[in-house]
């Protein structure tokens, strides 16, 4: 695993929203090598084509749930598109973010089935527990709270996802335990 710190530290102060992808920032050689390998591996998997989504999901994992603009600029160069095109792609999809997010992203389903079985209570409990509104990140940088359209686990509504883990049949009382476990790096 290559060191992931370099870019993250640089971009923590950088306001990605105000600066579109393409703003020139220095990129560490390790990042450059990593990106090149990632794009090439994707090209092989898709028989000469490329899936931006695959690449960007991978990068979100690596760079703390957001996509720093110097990284996007380099990816745009590697996949032979303009930074503006890539930025347009990234900002369209809710699972991708150019703004810095917390270590864990909480997605609260607010769609019909979850709404009927208690999602509003789950959402307001989460806001209170974390002390943030929707879209906000906790002061310690642990959690970003987002709402989400249907997660497709309506059989166990109300449901949320934290990173790649889903939680169902939730009541507000379940939440402190789940958050605490996530904070400590566990599943439940």
């Amino acid at each position: 695993m290559l060191p992931t710190k370099t870019i993250r530290e640089e971009t923590m102060e950088l306001n990605s929203e105000a600066r579109p992808a393409g703003t020139s920032e220095r990129l560490a050689d390790t990042d450059r090598v990593f990106l090149q390998a990632l794009v090439e591996a994707n090209r092989v998997e898709h028989h000469g084509r490329i899936s931006y989504m695959d690449i960007l999901f991978e990068l979100e994992h690596r760079y703390g749930n957001s996509l720093p603009s110097p990284i996007l600029a380099e990816v745009a160069r590697l996949v032979d598109t303009s930074p503006a095109q890539l930025n347009g792609f990234v900002t369209f999809y809710t699972m991708l973010s150019t703004a810095p997010r917390g270590r864990h992203v909480i997605r609260v389903c607010t769609s019909g089935p979850c709404h009927v079985s208690g999602a509003p209570a789950v959402l307001s409990a989460l806001k209170q527990l974390l002390g943030v509104e929707l879209g906000g990140t906790t002061a310690d940088g642990e959690f970003t709270l987002e709402d989400s359209s249907c997660l497709g686990i309506c059989g166990v509504s109300p449901a949320i996802m934290i990173d790649e883990d889903a939680y169902g049949n939730l009541t507000p009382e379940d939440l402190p335990r789940i958050l605490e476990a996530k904070r400590n790096g566990g599943r439940q």
Binding site: F57, G88, Y93, S111, G112, P113, S148, C150, G152
Partner: protein, 536 residues
Amino acid sequence: MKLFSTQILVPVDSSSVLQGALEVKHVLEETIARFNLAGQVSVVETGALGIYDSGVVLAVFPDDVYYGGVTPQDVEEIVTEHLLKGRVVSRLVIDKNLSTKRLVEKETGKGQQKIVLRNAGLIDPESIDEYIARDGYGALAKALAMKPEEVIQIVTDSKLQGRGGAGFPTGLKWSMVAKEPSAEKYIVCNADEGEPGTFKDRLILEGDPHSIVEAMTIAGYATGARTGIVYIRGEYVLSIARLKKAIGDAHEYGLLGDDILGTGFSFDIEVYRGGGAYVCGEEFALLESIENKRGTPRNKPPFPPQVGLFGKPTVVNNVETFANIPPILLNGSEWFKSFGTAGSTGTKVFSLSGDVVNRGIVETPLGVTLRELIYDFGGGVKGGKRIGFIQTGGSAGTVVSDKYLDIPLDFASMKAYNISIGSGVVLVASQDVPLLPFLAEVAHFFWHESCGKCTPCREGTLQVKWMMDSLVNRTAAPDTLERLARLLALLNDTSFCGLGQAVPLAFESAVRNFRGEFEAALAESHVPEPSQEEAV
């Protein structure tokens, strides 16, 4: 293959994992080993059974006993009592059919007929051998021995209609692509299941991924395509993993890749992930997304069968549609037509959610009624309450009252009774759930998911949301319903794609069926006085 006298199936899917299925499985394996039964009893992971309110389920074969609500603490009792002494632990036994059995027994002859879900919950979805043992890839072998046009003829004769919501005849779609002279064509599986309340495709993908691989390969052979692409929601982590494994295993067995089964036909399948955009369920938006663009729809015509992915002729079918293909090929179109109604053949997989006793997935012949789904399968409303409202077809569907309980659900009744089936959502809200905040949430959903390409949808969904919020907050202007009706007509008439055109369904049907609720909110409303600044 090793033979075991007893098999215990543990359904492991996204939902059962949440209820502790993996812990139970782990303890079960340990306990079986501890009692030296490892040689006789095998523990098999399967896909979902479609039962969600019975906790962790274990199915013991050949005894055909189903246990529900199993915790790690119960495991030793099951092992010592059932496996060692042959005594069924009755306190944990559940009716495996839940109330579907009553459906089967009805004089109408309608029952839960599993075509699409024939393997889900019965086989290990990660084992290609188990899929093959249940006639898997038999349909592909049969198809490859026929002429492509013969394959399409069988699909056409079966009268299979697309299960994604629009109900377009599948055979016709395939023949349109087959007719195109292009050397490059694509088969795309729409697995971007995003319609709120739909969770059937997840169950198929997690429970029987090979059925999709097989069906797409058949479609490729029939239409002359060599490349298949599954576009699947990024959130469906387990579905993606199981599908990728299925593709890899099919390759190893020579059922995918170059020269399939020595016939000279070559086909390959790739997985593309979605990024959390409802509009990508719209076929052109989906194709745009695969092409690494923002997921916005294209002008129609031309339709995807003529100009689709990368500008080439493309079949786009839903997961459930594909899952119907192998059984149709194996058993013939007459067999398929024996299910459902004359105009709507086959089965439909319904996703039952909300305030019902047994939430879950049920596959029944088309023509089933809401009463059968909600009371016979679903076990009725939680707490013995009355039905407040039912949303059918998803957020892009209709909101109806219990007066609609006995209307047969098929593609024809959509037009005759103004009720949609869409992707098969049946969301039940008890009398305790207020309608207007629910509709405000539906409005919020559409506003959030509108892609922004066309003005009517981008701005109209926001206006609908404001109107619904004003009804909830009791700040609605007296002419709100008239303005809402005009706005919805505009959305339906002028939106660029199906997303915007479908927005009116929920609100129009709600006003039609629950006018009293809207009028009560209007009667209680006070339009706030504009502040000094706003007035200027």
